[in-house]
């Protein structure tokens, strides 16, 4: 069909045939050598000796606070494993084993089933073996063929400091989860993996790298000798140094005792979290495997949700802190004259509904500065009408609301700043009005949801006038920045001075945070978020300058009442703590 005839000649055909014969004969020759000439050697090796690869472990990295205090340490325990193919009469052997391990037959069968990975792979049968138990098994070695014990590190929390929420915990890897894990870390069922908090976030850094020993074993699995030259050593995981100051953390934890809520303190310049408290909390020891089912259920079903890290996953109405968003919009757009006053008589009517100020007697004539200081709702109800929904939402989102702060902790919640699309979807095209929702938004109420850590990011943006370091828990993580927020100096200065007045001027809602020390300049804003489920949530965001450093605080006390009377005093206590320990904070820098 095609034009060109085959030009292949016999010589080329024979050359290729020769190469084919040569290659295959070389292979057959080698097979003959292995299978016939060296048969005895390989056969006896296959019968008697087998090279077994034994995984070796090294400790997981420790977790330290910024001053080097150990927060999370390792604690060596021993586990007992069995190779299923050696278990000729499982029930009989388990019956003998049960009393030594202080357990019963059913429990042993349950564990066997849980940790079974295959006939030739060890399954975990017992954990936390005491020295006494090990020696009892060792004495009766012949009764327990195929059983081995190996070292297995668990976590221990040495200081009374036991911060479940950001430290997180380890969990056993089981067969179902393995496919979803990072393959390069070589997880096996029964090993531990960071499951929450920084243990999860920094799993790769904290986890040891496994090693391999090659040992020759006989058909009974007895190790004959170790092949030294082929070893791969195991390496311990790296330590993790947190930016947390454990003394400050303990102090703040004391402040929140018996309360529900969250307090976070950060260093504004570096974004380091110095303290993060979520209350109520729980004891990390519950993950040590000795917790009864009853206690577990109690923890899981507790209405106060102690397992929840409120600091990053707790969603709250934002409250009055968002009046600052309206303020910034008004200032940037030059929409109102600063001296422009509004009369507050305690209530105002829009569309047939009455909207109230928290001060039922009214604030009288207030200008913008006074409205911030006294947190006057009426002023903002009125002035927010001058803004568009889009510009208000854009400003709020610029400050990081409705997005993750990207703090190095898992399970951060994103919150919500509702926009036009949201309202239309939620209430229908005609079920809402722009004017109506702005009334809610400006007070940080309605559909708005924020996390405390977003509040912290917000105040850090203000404290650093737009160039803000990303929040972080890991002290050694490089400082990086959020997208800069650019407003005129006039706007920033105005906000600063108003926030200063909130605490320091007569009639300011935050006066209870006022500090007696002249060294400390405190700026802040209180918030009281209405909450249909009970008493209002008290909140406070603020920052203070001390010894050329800036520290920021966010406080939320659930159902605490008013921000000025509940949250502000806590802020004052924290500021006093910094003053009393200011030497330490000087030395730290």
């Amino acid at each position: 069909m095609l034009k060109v005839d085959n030009k292949a000649d016999l010589f080329h055909y024979r050359t290729l045939l020769f190469i084919l014969c040569f290659l295959l004969l070389a292979l057959i020759g080698r097979y003959y050598y292995l299978q016939v000439i060296e048969y005895e050697r390989h056969f006896s090796k296959s019968q008697i000796n087998r090279v077994k690869a034994v995984t070796t472990y090294a400790p997981r990295g420790l977790i330290l606070d910024r001053s080097g205090e150990i927060l999370v340490d390792n604690y060596p325990t021993y586990i007992l494993t069995v190779k299923p193919y050696k278990l000729e009469d499982k029930e009989v052997i388990f019956k003998k084993l049960a009393p030594i391990l202080d357990t019963n037959l059913d429990e042993l069968n349950r564990r066997y089933k849980k940790y079974y990975r295959g006939k030739f792979l060890p399954a975990i049968i017992g954990k936390n073996l005491s020295f006494e138990q090990i020696s009892k098994i060792e004495e009766r070695r012949l009764d327990f063929p195929g059983f081995e014990y190996e070292r297995f590190d668990e976590r221990i929390y040495p200081s009374p400091f036991n911060e479940a929420h950001f430290l997180g915990y380890l969990r056993e890897v089981d067969r179902d989860t393995i496919p979803s894990l990072d393959k390069s870390l070589l997880y096996r069922a029964g090993e531990l993996i960071g499951w929450q908090g920084v243990e999860k976030q920094y799993e790769k850094q904290l986890r040891f790298s496994k090693g391999i020993d090659y040992v020759e074993v006989d058909t009974y699995g007895r190790e004959i000798f170790e092949l030294e030259e082929n070893k791969i050593p195991a390496f311990p995981g790296e330590n993790l140094v947190l930016s947390i100051d454990s003394n400050l953390q303990k102090f703040v934890k004391g402040l929140l005792a018996e309360k529900k809520g969250s307090v976070i303190i950060s260093d504004v310049n570096s974004g380091e979290i110095l303290s993060m408290v979520s209350s109520p909390s729980y004891d990390l020891e519950v993950y040590r495997g000795t917790t009864s089912e009853e206690d577990w259920d109690k923890l899981l079903s507790d209405v106060d949700k102690p397992l929840l890290n409120r600091s990053i996953s707790g969603l709250y109405p934002a409250g009055s802190m968002l009046k600052l968003i309206t303020t910034i919009n008004l200032l940037e757009d030059n929409t109102v004259a600063l001296s422009d006053s509004t009369l507050c008589v305690g209530a105002i009517e829009y569309g047939g509904n009455e909207f109230r100020c928290w001060n039922e007697n009214g604030h009288g004539y207030v200008d913008l500065n006074e409205a911030i200081i006294q947190s006057c709702n009426i002023y903002f109800y009125e002035k927010v009408q001058l803004l568009s929904l889009e510009s208000w939402v854009e400003t709020a989102r610029n400050f990081g609301f409705n997005s993750l702060t990207e703090i190095d902790l898992p399970n951060e919640k994103i919150g919500l700043i509702p926009d036009r699309e949201f309202f239309t979807k939620q209430y229908g095209r005609w079920g809402w009005s722009e004017r109506g929702v702005l009334l809610n938004l400006t007070l940080g109420q309605g559909d708005i949801l924020v996390t405390p850590i977003q509040g912290l990011r917000f105040i850090n943006h203000i404290a650093s006038k737009g160039e803000t370091a990303k929040l972080k828990m890991n002290l050694n993580k490089d400082v990086s920045y959020y997208a800069p927020i650019e407003y005129s100096d006039k706007t920033w200065d105005y906000i600063w001075s108003s926030l200063f007045d909130v605490i320091n001027a007569t009639g300011g809602t935050g006066w209870r945070a006022m500090s007696s020390s002249k060294d400390l300049q405190f700026f802040g804003k209180t918030g009281t978020a209405e909450n249909p489920h009970g008493e209002a949530h008290a909140s406070f965001i603020g920052f203070f300058e001390l010894n050329d450093n800036k520290y920021s605080i966010v406080i939320i006390v659930e159902n605490g009442g008013s921000g000025g009377s509940v949250a502000a005093p806590l802020a004052g206590d924290i500021a006093s703590y910094f003053i009393n320990n200011s030497q330490e904070y000087l030395a730290d820098k």
């Binding site: 060109v4 005839d5 085959n6 292949a8 016999l10 055909y13 057959i28 690869a53």
Partner: protein
């Protein structure tokens, strides 16, 4: 040509022989997979999956059989460019097992370089079969050489050393088949041997002498001869720098091969286990399902890379000898077809495909007995695995299609 009478079978007989031999190889593979599957008849066992893959590949074979030779010939460049471009796609996708080899389609993954092998063969065959080509001219090797290096370059960067070797394999047999001057083929082979020999001073010195004698024998002119000779020597001296550019695991595999005691990643462990399994099979083997090494799962990836070790342990030297004979007959039949065919293009393509299959067979077998480093190349028609099986069936359909003319 009177020599054609040396092969006594008609093309139709030869075609039938290829199909029968393929069937035998598939059955051998299934028997071995049945033996090592814990529960062969369950969905998800490698035996069951292989049966499905065979059915799917056979379907592809039937479809491919409908494509006429002329279409393949006329569109060879398009096919080649298309597949070569597909090979770039994985570089823009996330890595799969630390390489850029695979395209994940969701329901299956495909490895475009698997198909690059024979696309390259087709395009080179088309070039060499051009009747205007001056076969004796030296420049004839330039285009096939550049194309091969280009393809090998893509594959090496994925990185996939094994497939890169396979991609290069058909070049020399095809040039030889086309009647290219022996000296030119010698010049192509020399740098490869030079690089391999460069790792050892004694080997390198001996090779330098042999090369010198060959140059004398072929009598090129003095200047070009000297230049080529010293270029080779320099390549040998520069080889260590090239070595440093290999991926860590490739170095590891080669090093482990050269000295099994250096064993940080456990490749030597594979070889030790494989050699023990093979050796302990003896002359008659341990019997179906009785290979203690393979049944105890001492061998890793035994269903694909080390399937031959399973056969060797359970069926002994007799089994291996049989498999090798079948492979011999298979490749020889391909060469016979290539020799008998009247069409030059078809003949060249079949030689290229025979080279691809033979290099797979040789590298895989040599790996199981510790003659070559662990490469991860499967055995045609026997190893479990969908992508490669499909590629084998496509090559088979090409062979049958081409031989019908």
């Amino acid at each position: 040509m009177s020599s054609n009478n040396l092969i006594l079978f008609s093309p139709k007989d030869l075609r039938n022989r290829v199909i029968v031999l393929t069937g035998v190889l598939l059955i051998i593979g299934l028997v071995a997979l049945y033996s090592i599957s814990d529960n062969p008849l369950s969905i998800g066992s490698s035996f069951f999956r292989q049966c499905i893959f065979i059915l799917l590949s056979f379907f592809a074979y039937i479809v491919m059989r409908t494509i006429p030779l002329k279409t393949v010939h006329d569109n060879s460049t398009t096919i080649f460019v298309g597949i070569a471009m597909l090979c770039f796609i994985p570089f823009f996708l996330p890595q799969v097992e630390y390489t850029y080899r695979w395209i994940d389609l969701g329901f299956m993954t495909i490895q475009p370089s698997e198909y690059l092998k024979f696309a390259l063969v087709i395009v080179i065959a088309k070039y060499l079969s051009n009747h205007q080509l001056e076969v004796k001219s030296k420049s004839i090797v330039i285009i096939p050489g550049i194309l091969t290096l280009f393809c090998a370059g893509i594959v090496l960067n994925q990185p996939d050393l094994g497939t890169a070797v396979i991609v290069c394999a058909p070049l020399i047999p095809m040039l030889l088949w086309a009647g290219v001057n022996g000296f030119i083929i010698f010049l192509i082979i020399t740098p490869i041997i030079t690089i391999l020999a460069a790792s050892n001073t004694i080997f390198f010195s001996v090779w330098a002498v042999i090369m010198f004698l060959c140059f004398l024998m072929f009598r090129p002119n003095f200047i070009s001869g000297s230049v080529l000779y010293f270029a080779n020597i320099f390549t040998g001296l520069l080889a260590p720098f090239f070595w440093n550019n290999l991926a860590e695991y490739q170095k590891q595999r080669i090093l482990t091969f050269l000295n099994p005691d250096l064993d940080p990643m456990g490749s030597a462990y594979h070889i030790i286990q494989s050699v023990t399994a093979i050796g302990s099979g003896g002359f008659f083997g341990k019997g179906f399902g009785h290979g203690s090494q393979t049944q105890l799962k001492f061998l890793p990836v035994q269903e694909s890379d080390f399937i031959l070790s399973v056969i060797a342990e359970e069926f002994g030297f007799v089994g291996i000898f049989l498999v090798m004979i079948i492979f011999f007959l298979f490749i020889k039949t391909l060469l016979d077809i290539a020799f008998k065919l009247s069409d030059y293009f078809s003949s060249l393509v079949i030689v290229g495909i025979a080279s691809i299959l033979l290099s797979h067979i040789f590298i895989n077998s040599a790996m199981t007995i510790g003659l070559l480093p662990v490469k991860g190349l499967p055995l045609p028609f026997i190893s479990a695995g969908g992508s490669f099986l499909l590629s084998c069936f496509i090559m088979l359909s090409l062979v049958i299609n081409l031989s019908e003319n």
